[in-house]
């Protein structure tokens, strides 16, 4: 079978725009995911020593965080995207009676950016769950001796976290965060199911119109490879820069 170069060249603008969209949602997903993950990770570790506070912290922080993390790590992203787009978004943003946004603004958002908004929300929530665990592992990976040294100097818990633990944990987290970004880059291909025009969607369109498999899919595979390899070069640079070497 020959390669039909025309399929590739005809659809190249679409692939390129798709690639831009893929990068966009990946970057936004990583940013929001990091924010969500930070809060969820801290909530997951929250504890109180005495009395009633013990239960309140568990009910309002630890358990919800655990539930969130469990759900988003335990079900396929693909299912999460569909649930967010078709089940949750219509409740939140709806021209008649959306809980968050209603009326014309809701209309506007839904029709102009519906898939984008849902896609970003689903990807961010998914990434957030994984990043929460990265964050937790990062904090727990810091030698307990560091905290003890700081506490024995009279520093409070929060100052110890702020000056000693978090700065070190963050360096350790960079490489796994990078890996999560790579995962997210690939996973973003799934938002094509709700019609967001990223790379996989472009390939799907080309495939739908021409019934050719090799050309569009190999093309976007190469695109994905370039992007993931680029990211992993960045990650291993981070690893070298901030990895174990610097820490001990």
């Amino acid at each position: 079978m020959g390669i039909r170069w025309d399929v590739i060249s005809d659809y190249m603008p679409m692939f390129l725009q798709g690639a831009v969209m893929t990068l966009e949602i990946t970057v936004i997903g990583v940013l929001f995911g990091t924010l969500i993950g930070l809060f969820a990770g801290i909530a997951r570790l929250a504890y109180a020593k005495y009395g009633l506070g013990k239960y309140l912290v568990a009910i309002f922080f630890r358990w919800p965080a655990l539930l969130y993390i469990t759900f988003f790590r335990g079900t396929p992203l693909f299912v999460q995207i569909l649930i967010v787009h078709f089940a949750i978004m219509p409740l939140l943003i709806n021209p008649d009676g959306g809980w968050l946004i209603a009326g014309d603004l809701a209309r506007e958002i839904k029709s102009e950016h519906g898939a984008l908004v849902s896609g970003i929300i689903a990807l961010s929530l998914n990434a957030g769950a994984y990043i929460a665990e990265i964050f937790r592992a990062g904090i727990q990976s810091i030698d307990i001796g560091q905290a003890e040294a700081a506490r024995s100097l009279g520093m409070t818990y929060s100052k110890t976290m702020r000056f000693i633990i978090i700065p070190q944990a963050f360096r350790r987290m960079l490489p796994p965060l990078g890996n999560e970004a790579i995962m997210l880059l690939k996973d973003s291909s799934l938002v094509s199911v709700i019609g967001l025009a990223e790379m996989a969607f472009a390939a799907k369109s080309a495939f739908g119109a021409t019934s050719r498999v090799w050309e569009p899919y190999i093309t976007i595979s190469i695109f994905y490879l370039v992007m993931t390899l680029g990211l992993s070069v960045l990650v291993s640079w981070l690893e070298r820069r901030y990895g174990k070497g610097d820490i001990r």
Partner: protein, 240 residues
């Protein structure tokens, strides 16, 4: 200065300290010796509340540590601690390591903190390493920085937990020298150590612990040359 009465400490169901009673006076240097697992570190860590006390009384510099209302951070400001594994902050330079706590806890100004830090570095003989990162230092140098870091808080008491046992033999001396000069200046010190030479030379008193209790205590001569307890003698015969 330090007053301990019937101190018990459990880890889960494991009773590690089985009723320790002792007193440490101002300007006294007390060396704690004993076999591995006898509870030496745990005892030391109870003195600045790094371990929660199960029962008993520990009064340090007038603060009752077992009391939940005591502000533990205030106690710790007065009690410096040096660890076996140094525990320097690897993401900060030597100078920053020393300046951090005075600035954050004692609210000393930056200039003042830096001045004091440089003095301390000179004292431990590491002036030229002020801007180095801990990982680039040898073990002995790291431990000396750790001592300077603890001293920067101007503590009234210093606790040492086997400060030389993670060091190569040639570096032991330089750390012991710093500790000796500290003792000579009249610092109150509690030192867990396997360096019997140091205990004999510098210690005012030696405490031998085994299996969670103080088996014997006394002056270095008494313990090293004329121990009363069978276990003390057995232990000393192995390590001397």
């Amino acid at each position: 200065m330090i007053y301990v009465k019937d101190l018990h400490k459990y880890f889960g169901k494991n009773e590690v300290l089985k009723g320790i009673t002792c007193e440490i006076k101002e300007r006294e240097v007390v060396c704690v010796i004993g076999p591995s697992g006898s509870g030496k570190s745990t005892f030391l860590r109870c003195l600045n509340a790094l371990e929660e006390i199960t029962s008993g009384e520990v009064i340090v510099d007038g603060f009752n540590i077992a009391d939940r209302r005591t502000n533990i951070n205030k106690v710790r400001e007065e009690v410096g601690m040096v660890f076996q594994r140094f525990n320097l902050f690897p993401h900060m330079t030597v100078l920053e390591n020393i300046m951090l706590a005075p600035m954050q806890v004692r609210k000393v100004s930056k200039d003042e903190a830096e001045k004091r830090a440089r003095q301390l570095l000179a004292k431990v003989g590491l002036s030229e390493k002020a801007d180095a990162y801990p990982n680039s230092l040898s073990g002995g140098q790291q431990q000396r920085v750790a001592i300077a870091r603890a001293l920067a808080m101007q503590p009234k008491i210093m606790l040492f937990d086997e400060p030389t046992s993670a060091l190569d033999p040639e570096m032991v001396g330089e750390v012991l020298d710093v500790m000796k000069s500290l003792a000579a200046e009249g610092m109150t010190m509690v030192v867990v150590t396997h360096e019997m030479g140091f205990a004999r030379e510098v210690g005012d008193r030696v405490i031998f612990m085994d299996q969670g209790i103080i088996m014997e205590e006394g002056s270095p001569e008494q313990i090293f040359t004329n121990a009363q307890n069978e276990r003390t003698r057995a232990f000393l015969s192995k390590v001397l």
